[in-house]
Symmetry: C2
Subunit: 231 residues, 2 copies
Amino acid sequence: MTQEPIDQELDNDPQYRAAVIDLLAVLAVSELTAFERMAADSVLAPTFADKASMGELATTEFRHFTALRNRLVELGADPEIAMEPFRQTLEDFHMKTKPTDWLEGLMKAFVGDGIGLDFYREISSYVDPKTRELVCEVCDDLSQAAYVVERIRTAIEEDPKVAGRLALWGRRLVGEALSQAQRVAAERDALAALIIGGVDRPGADLAEIGRMLARLTDSHSRRMADLGLAA
Amino acid sequence: MTQEPIDQELDNDPQYRAAVIDLLAVLAVSELTAFERMAADSVLAPTFADKASMGELATTEFRHFTALRNRLVELGADPEIAMEPFRQTLEDFHMKTKPTDWLEGLMKAFVGDGIGLDFYREISSYVDPKTRELVCEVCDDLSQAAYVVERIRTAIEEDPKVAGRLALWGRRLVGEALSQAQRVAAERDALAALIIGGVDRPGADLAEIGRMLARLTDSHSRRMADLGLAA
């Protein structure tokens, strides 16, 4: 079997290789923990149809996890070792954002996941096409989004008081997501270097990082607006 | 579209139809709640490989749930209404058998699910071939069983004290499963009539019911022995 150019590039640049593995690993842990928590939050669902929809979302996350783990193995990484550094961060995120009811669980699946996936998609523009393709595939599968939007809008129509509480909850989700992302960036040099660049590799300048943050905030506000909520 | 004979039979015998719908519905709720709890129990897993295996088990249960729900719709039943009578029973089972650690979670996936599936398989011998085929398909998919057996045997080898605790846990799982099964049989006349028979339909006599219970107990003991545990 001939090695693909990307695999050669990974061999030739250990820091770049470490960054790609970090990216795939943090995304894999995100998907796996999202799967665990969504399935657990499905217990809060008022109807079997809601449980079924949450279950679809959760099993999709698990499929993504499997694809990411397979890619790690393909690249010669030990998934266990690659994923471990991100376990605590993701567990902390979920512990600090435990939904107290079904609507909060739905919001978390849509808004919390949304900002996370946007962030990974942004980072993917700094990696090789094959890795980018996998990351985008994993990040784009929001087939149940229409269902979540409709359920939350209906709940707000039925009881407008709900809107204030959910708007606060949305802010908390984003705040926790950003604080965990900062923690990852601070601890994982290779991943941070992917964005800000290295000796031989151009990265984003400050202006570009500013624009990236603006795009993330815009997408978040758009999602909140879709739900009929203030960001 | 011509109606299949089985659908005609269901139309002609309302009690039989009710029994088939009950059987598919209780199995659907079992699979759905098993999915929710296994995914939640995956949080207890010590390694990502263990999480991945538990996740495989859980997503298989969800796929079964989807197949059963689709069949309910095909038969003209409203899945929401059909499944509701079994929700509390299954929730109670899971509440009373919450694993306190990873090994108990694994045992529950293997032993608790095992006796449940054996029971559904036994009942399926009283229904039409098409329903039976679906039930058996759903009940037979224990692809991860070898993994569970190996994990538990290793844990016992590493710390023989574990065996006593897990043997007790196995007995508790079976006790709770049987007590919930009795509750379902007591509350759902149609389902009970499927086994003991109705006016125009032969059922099992007492001797056959005794043999069925013996088969269930035997299978359970065999599973416990596979794990290296006393039943």
